[in-house]
Symmetry: C2
Subunit: 659 residues, 2 copies
């Protein structure tokens, strides 16, 4: 394979360059510190270069695969494999220059008496060949690694902070921004059930099995550690599966279920993990009061994060509506990006969950702010988040591959690894099947068995699970958790990712389905075969009424009547929807633009039915197969949904028909 | 001012949030390390949040200014001012929690004997209230600061590595990618003279004056340090001035001169700085051999960086030409970004200058690769680099403001600051006027005196000067240099930036000039008045012949005949331009697309005469004043330059008419 060969060659040249750089002799003795800084800079550059090369390689190889219509390996799988190769080369290459270290003890008369290791050490260093004495500061890094780290390996393993603060937010925001909201909300009941109840079930099942087994084996892992593993490994990853789904135009409802579940369960898993961690902080064992405290904690974190995200989204909508930022597309796009990113940071700084906040912020931005943006900004924000999403994702998967070999805190515990694989399969099983059967009792367009099988199979693990695991490696148990999680991610991404196309056809899941067609006629009805065939077209209209619980219906009405008129430049205005007594206020909140514009379907929530992206589909690399020459500004303005828009805008008739 | 008030309020709330977060009580004693990591994460998030808020504030305030047509303060000036305010609040706010530190000494029997302080310290920490002993690693940070740092202040001052590796590349690449190449190459002689000769003159004049004065005063600063200051302060910043220029539609030749000079002189200043640094490394004084070595070093770094940049640009062109990556716009855009970024990293890793490499890479990408991209990618790459450029720039200027108060290594040396201000004015004078008069001897469309005055006035200092200064603060001299540089940047950006519009009208420089009109008819002839009025329209055609030196003419011919047919999908193909004997090779290097396409002016080097961006102009925030409703994909495809394209494509007649 051309890509593979090139990869090996590139990797080797990067590594030899690294060795060369580090081995470079240093000059005189006085500017030794400048030299040191220069070397650090050189290694930093090389380190980023390494990942950049890995990504270039991945991009080119994906292209070759796509060109040849080979679907047996997805880009994330490729990124992991290239990462593993380069990681192995880095680890076992000739370089043996390990970081120099020196054992130190507290100076006599030192008055530091706190119960935490100090933030910095001040170390008076006596230069060997001169009488110079200088005091240098050293900052806290963590427990010393068991094996000696070489400089490259240490550098190739970067700070989990970067991972969480820089790489994850665009991925999650992108997910929210490109959400197919109509289908998402139609399946909201099922998605919430899987995400909240299912993830909790999975957490306890996995945690219980792992703990039970390790207890029998006589491992030292506490119940809290097992539960923590259960929680973080329950975060499934949408990336790989969904790329293939949109590539193959799989049934939209299946898409919505898989997407909704995996995005929301990331959030649930993160919150569960932090709840369990803080629960573990208060006691090592199990106490009822602490347990309820953890539940309250969970609800608090989730709801507050949700609120921050939504409020920031609405704030952006207000800012873009009531200023004429639209006249300056660059400023507008900058504000959009900055507001969205600050949502993530605010939630993290307030000890909540940035992921949840940024997800809902993305949904609000798509639902409200998008309406107020200029045409340029609509195209550009889409393109930017698409690209950021693509790069971040593949970077993370490369990194997971590389770190498998270079990270210093791995701990291989074979029995734990084996039981973990068994546990996650059982956990996934206990999540999907019982809940699906339960849902099918009340749900009119039932979830057919082949969809259940596909949902079960879609339980790939990815970035979030890895990110949660690498966050803390202070104890042996945490180190084993990291190693096992990395391994599970790599195996599921390569194996399940590679088999998805096969499995889809084995299960007889309809592909190449037109969205609207599926939606109106064949909802949940497999085209080829499948046990759900009896519930067909005639129930589709009833189902709408059933699916929308009263809460959702009320919200939908409130949204159309007040939120959209208030937050966007679309019709109807607040003047039309509020009672006469509020007219002065309503006038104040209605812009001239909103009043003067004719009814332009383009301005109405055009994202509802369409996807965002380079060429129209979220992971749209392949969408251009259909419309290579069709430019982006034509393809995704959702002109096709004008009919549904009309329904929505006539307030009286909008009773939840299209949220 | 609404923005100012809001700014103060926001800043104060962020700071109080910071204090709250840090003051948060910690839980039990066992999970103290997890707690510590959590606090670090919280502070990291808050720190980024701080800058995000600053940027949001800047964006909103700029909008208000633009909306009210107020031109007395540019966005970079605003960013600096907001940064200063927040920096002052951070510094003098109630928070006094300084970082804890502990003095340590080498353990007995420690065998470390190298002449550099060790990379890590291994410190066995005995917990106060338990019998636990754990060994922690501490990494090298640098010399201890003179004042105690608080945690917020330390965090708000981030690593110069991030500055150089993450923030600068997009700015410089953007400059190259959006270069108005036609006007740039027409004025190449003058630009090179100012950039190479002028920057060198400025370096030595500033260095000499500063050193002479400080020697009289009795300061300890060495000649090398003075020269270093001279070099780094000679890097002028294009951002602020050019934003105003394109806003006002200033004469394109003046634009080209200012732009070309400031972009290239950044590169020259960087290479000069590193040459002087390495020269200083070999000896403290002045030696002839070392001096020549420094010159060779300079030439080597500059030419190798240039080669790396161009080669990587051409490589991207080849990759996009010979693969059908075009069918997958997302992959294409990702590859484009990755290749460009890796250019920077490669040069840095090889101890060359990434800035020079990425600048020329940007020029090549615009000249060749842009032709091969899909329509989506053309729009998207422009939008992405525009936005990155905008965000990076304003972030840097905010940071310069904040760091004025928070950076621990400032050293205020009043006499140095005063003489530095005088020296840079003299240095700029010695650069612009003598060289302009010299150039005017040979040059046909002479540089009028008001243009010289404007060039003199355009000597703002910015990101590069600051970046070079903050890179090393190991000695007292370097600390004074940093402080003085920061101050010069702040003063010039706010003062000169604010006065630009005024000065333009005082000098009678034509504004609101149509590009082509200026170019063909009024080249270098001021519309209102000015001493250059006698050289007018009739010499414009001769000037072309004169301006293009033979080397440039040969290159231009080679480019049209071989480089463009080889690297892009445009006509003519290599089959048309190479002799018959090379036909098989030429056929191999010609794609089907290239052969089958009709002569489409859209595919020909459409960047030549047009700018890249949100709405069509580089810093195009204001361009939409003219074409608010005109979408980006219409505005900047350069349809207007079809005529000049036709000239260029007929090879025989293209003798340097339009490069």
């Amino acid at each position: 394979m051309a890509g593979g060969g090139g990869g090996g060659f590139l990797a080797i040249s990067v590594v030899s360059l690294l060795n060369y750089v580090i081995a470079k002799p240093s000059a005189g003795t006085d500017i030794v510190l400048d030299e040191k800084a220069l070397t650090t800079h050189r290694i930093d550059s090389l380190n980023i270069l390494l990942y950049t090369f890995l990504l270039i390689l991945t991009v080119v190889t994906i292209w070759i695969f796509k060109y040849r219509r080979a679907r047996y390996l997805h880009e994330t799988g490729l990124a992991v494999i290239y990462g593993l190769i380069v990681g192995a080369i880095l680890r076992y290459s000739g370089d043996n220059t390990s970081l120099s270290h020196m054992r130190v003890v507290a100076a006599t008369g030192e008055g530091y008496k706190e119960n935490v290791p100090p933030d910095t050490l001040w170390f008076k260093y006596a230069y060997a060949n001169s009488s110079q004495n200088r005091t240098y500061a050293y900052t806290f890094k963590g427990e010393i690694p068991e094996t000696l780290e070489t400089e490259i390996v240490q550098k190739a393993t970067f700070d989990p902070e970067i991972f969480f603060n820089i790489l994850l937010p665009p991925i999650i925001f992108s997910a929210g921004y490109s959400l197919k909201r109509k289908h998402f909300f139609k399946n909201l009941g099922a998605i919430f059930t899987f995400a909240f109840l299912g993830t909790t079930i999975s957490t306890f099942v996995v945690g219980g099995i792992v703990h039970g087994f390790l207890y029998l084996v006589g491992s030292s892992m506490t119940f809290i550690d097992s539960l923590l593993f259960g929680a973080l490994i329950s975060a499934t990853d949408p990336v790989t599966i969904l790329a293939i789904f949109s590539d193959l135009h799989v049934d939209v409802n299946l898409y919505a279920l898989v997407f909704g579940e995996s995005v929301l369960n990331d959030a649930v898993a993160i919150v569960l993990t932090s709840a369990i961690e803080s629960y573990g902080g208060t006691s090592g064992g199990f106490e009822t009061s602490a347990f309820f405290l953890a539940i309250v904690n969970f609800l608090w974190i989730f709801s507050m994060s949700f609120i921050i995200g939504s409020v920031m989204g609405c704030l952006t909508a207000i800012l873009t509506k009531f200023t004429r930022l639209k006249d300056f597309p660059l400023l507008e796009a900058a504000l959009f990006v900055l507001m969205s990113y600050s949502t993530f940071l605010m939630a993290e700084a307030a000890d909540l969950t940035g992921i949840v906040a940024v997800l809902f912020c993305g949904i609000c931005q798509a639902h409200y702010t998008y309406n107020n943006l200029s045409t340029e900004s609509r195209i550009n924000t889409k393109a930017i988040f698409e690209l950021l999403n693509f790069l971040s994702e593949n970077f993370i998967f490369s990194y997971i591959g590389v770190s498998m070999f270079t990270f210093a805190h791995h701990k291989w515990d074979v029995s734990f690894i084996c039981i973990a694989f068994i546990a996650i399969i059982i956990g996934r099983f206990m999540n999907i099947y019982p809940l699906s059967f339960l849902l099918n009792i009340g749900r009119q367009p039932k979830i057919p068995v082949n969809f259940m099988n596909m949902l079960f199979f879609s339980g790939l693990r990815g970035a979030i699970a890895f990110g949660l695991a690498i966050r803390s490696t202070n104890s042996d148990a945490r180190k084993s958790i990291l190693t096992t999680t990395s391994l599970i991610v790599i195996v599921t991404v390569i194996l399940c990712g590679g088999l998805t196309t096969q499995v889809l056809s084995w299960l007889g899941i309809p592909v190449d389905v037109n969205d609207d067609e599926t939606h109106h006629l064949n909802q949940f009805q497999p085209i080829r075969n499948g046990p759900g065939a009896e519930e067909g077209g005639e129930t589709a209209t009833d189902s709408n009424k059933f699916e929308k619980a009263w809460l959702l219906r009320i919200w939908s009405q409130f949204d159309v009547r007040y939120m959209k008129p208030f937050l966007t430049n679309s019709r109807p205005t607040l003047l039309d929807t509020t009672p006469l007594c509020c007219a002065p206020l309503a006038r104040l909140l209605t812009t001239t633009e909103q009043l003067t514009q004719g009814h332009n379907p383009l301005n109405d929530d055009m994202l509802d039915d369409t996807l965002i992206g380079f060429g129209g589909v979220r992971t749209s690399i392949d969408s251009s197969r259909q419309n290579v020459t069709k430019p982006v500004y034509d393809g995704d303005l959702g002109l096709g949904s004008a009919g549904s828009v009309a329904t929505r805008v006539s307030v009286a008739g909008s009773r939840g028909q299209d949220l």
